[in-house]
Amino acid sequence: MSINTKKVMKNAWRITKDRNLTCLRIRVPGGHLPVKFFPLIQEIADQYGNGTVHITTRQGFEVPGIPFSKMEEINAKIAPIIDELEVKNDVDINKSEKGYPAAGTRNVSSCIGNRVCPQAVFDTTSLARDIEKTIYPNDPHVKIAVTGCPNDCIKAHMQDIGVIGQVEPVYDRTRCIACQACVNNCAKVSTGALTFSNYKVKRDSKRCIGCGECVLKCPTGAWTRGEQHYRLVIMGRTGKKNPRIARTFMEWADRGAVLKICSNLYGYIDKYIDRTLPKEHVGYIVDRTGFNVFKEEVLKDVTLSSKTKVVDYINFGGYENR
C-alpha cells in the first residue's frame, strides 16, 4: 500500500491506529446540521465504516473504520454536505466532489445561540458561518469558536480566537419601578456593574460585560437590548506545552472587526510560522514573537468603533521551563 499521508490528512482524512483503515471527518460550521444529511452519514458508516460515528468536540462527525481505498468514492458521496454547508455559504471550494480541501483550520464551532437559548445575545451559528467563509479552506492549525454570552458554553476560552457575544443594555429610567431585580442579579450572577441610586439604576460601563442579564430580569422593559458587540479572547489552548485559558484582547468590537481580525491572523501566521516544524500552532507563534507583534499584524486595516476597547498588553507568561 502506498499512501501520501500528507495529502490524506490535508483532505481531512485521518491516519489511524489501524494501518488499513482511515476515518472520515465532516465539519459542521456553527454546529447546526440539517437532519436530511443523517441518512447519508449513516449510510457511509454502515457500508464503509464500522457502523458508528464519533461526535467531536468541535461539532463535527468522525466516521471510523473506513478502508483507504474508499476515500475517493466517499469524497464524492459527501459532496452534498460540502455543497450545502460550505459552497452555498460562499466558502471557496471548487470541487466539492473531491472532499475537503484543507483540515488545518478546524471547524468553527458555536454554542446553540439565540436560535434556542434565552441567554444568548445573538445568532452564533450565523457568525460562525461567516467566520468559516473568511478563514476556510486554510492549512494553518487554527481553532475558532463562537459563543452567545459570557457563560461561554462553547469554551471560547480554549480557542486561538474565542468570540463572545456582548449586548449593550439600554436603560429607560421612565420605565423603571426600582424593583432592583437587575441590580441584585448583576451582583449575584455577573459583574456587579449596576448600582442603585435615587431609586434609579446606574451602570458602570467599565464593569459591564454585556451579558444582557439586566434585560432578562427587568419586568417593565426599562432595560432593553441596544447594539450588538463581541468580546474577543485569544490564545487559549490545550496541548502538551503550557495549556492555558484565553485572555481578553478586545471588547465591544463589531462584526466587521471580528471577521477582519480572523482573516489577518493568517497573514501573521504566514509571516512568523516556524517552517522547520511539521506544523506550528498559532499560540506558540505568539509565544515566540510576543504579543505586540501579533497585535500589530492582526489589527492591520481594522476599523474599530469608538466603543471598542483593545487591551494594551497581555502577559501570557511565556514558556514554562522545568
Partner: protein, 339 residues
Amino acid sequence: MGYKFTTEEFNRLLSDLKKQYRVYAPVLLKGKGRFSDTDVVGYGEIQNIDDVIFTQKSYFSPKEIFYPISETMFYFTEDEYREPKVESKEIIVFLRSCDINAVERLDKIMLENGKEPDYYYHRLRSKVKFIKIDCPTSFDSCFCVSMGTNYTDNYSASIHSDNNGLYLCDVKEDINGLFSSYGTFAEFKPLFVEENDFSVEVPEDINLATIAEHDLWQEYSSRCVACGRCNTSCPTCSCFTVQDIFYEDNPKCGERRRVWASCQIDGFTDMAGGHSFRKDKGQRMRFKVMHKINDFKKRFGMHMCVGCGRCDDVCPEYISFSRCVNKVSAAVQGVNNDG
C-alpha cells in the same frame, strides 16, 4: 353609526386628529423583546394606521399612557414646590374591550375609592378617549368571556379591518366631525369575542378564612420568582409607591415621584421598623388572586380581573392566574361540600 375607510382616508383622519391629540396604540417595538432578536408589542405613539398591531395582544397594557410607570408629583427647593406641567394635548388610545373594562376598574380605585379623586390620575385620565380595537377572535390565554369584559360600548369609535383592506369604524362620538368627513357610511356591527379557548369559573361565597389557609397556595411559594411581571403587565393593577429624591448635585432640591409597585415583589409589605408581612410568595399569590376575584367586587360590585390573560403570557415561570382561579373554585366547592 358605521363608517368605512381606506388606509389613506384613515391616515388623513389620523393626521387631523394628531393636531389635537396624541394617538397611542399597540405598536411593534423592534428588537425590544426580552430575548435577543425578538420584538415586543407595546404602547407607543403612531404616525399612521399601519403602525397599529391588530393581530397580537400587547405585552404591556395601555394603562402606562395615562397612569405613567414613573411620575413626578412635584419638584421642591428649600422653601417652595411646583408641580410639573402636563401637556395641553389630549389623548387617544387604541385598546381592546378587556382593556376598556380595565380602565373602568382603574377609575374605580383612582377616582371613587377615597373622598377625593386621585389628582394626578384624574388630570391625565380626563384627557383620554378610546378607540376600541375589535377582536374578531380570541387570543391565547384570553378569558374575557368568563369575566364579562368581552363587551363594551364605552368608546368613541371601534375599528377592525374587513377582508377588502378597509377599516370599519362603529362611531359613537364623531370626534371633531372627522369620522363622518373622511369615512363613507357603512352598515356593519362592531366585533366582540363570544368565546375563549379557556374559561374560568370565578367562585362565589368564598369562606375567606378557610381558603386563605388552603394548601393550594403552597406550590406558588416555590414556583413564583417574585419578578412582578404579572403586575406590570396587568391593566388593572393600580398600586404605587412614593419616592423622595434629593438631587445629587444639590440635595436641597429634589422631587417626589410616584412609581408603580408590585405586590409580588420583595419590599411591597415592608413597614417602618423593618417588619414585613407576606414574605412567602404563595401568600402573595393568594393576596393578588383574591383581590382580583373577590375583594375588589365586594367594594365596587365588579371583579377587578378583566381576563386579558397578560399575566399568563408574561410569567417566566409559566404560572397561570386563570388556572389558579379555577383551582380556587374547586377548593371552594370542596370546602363548601365538606361543610
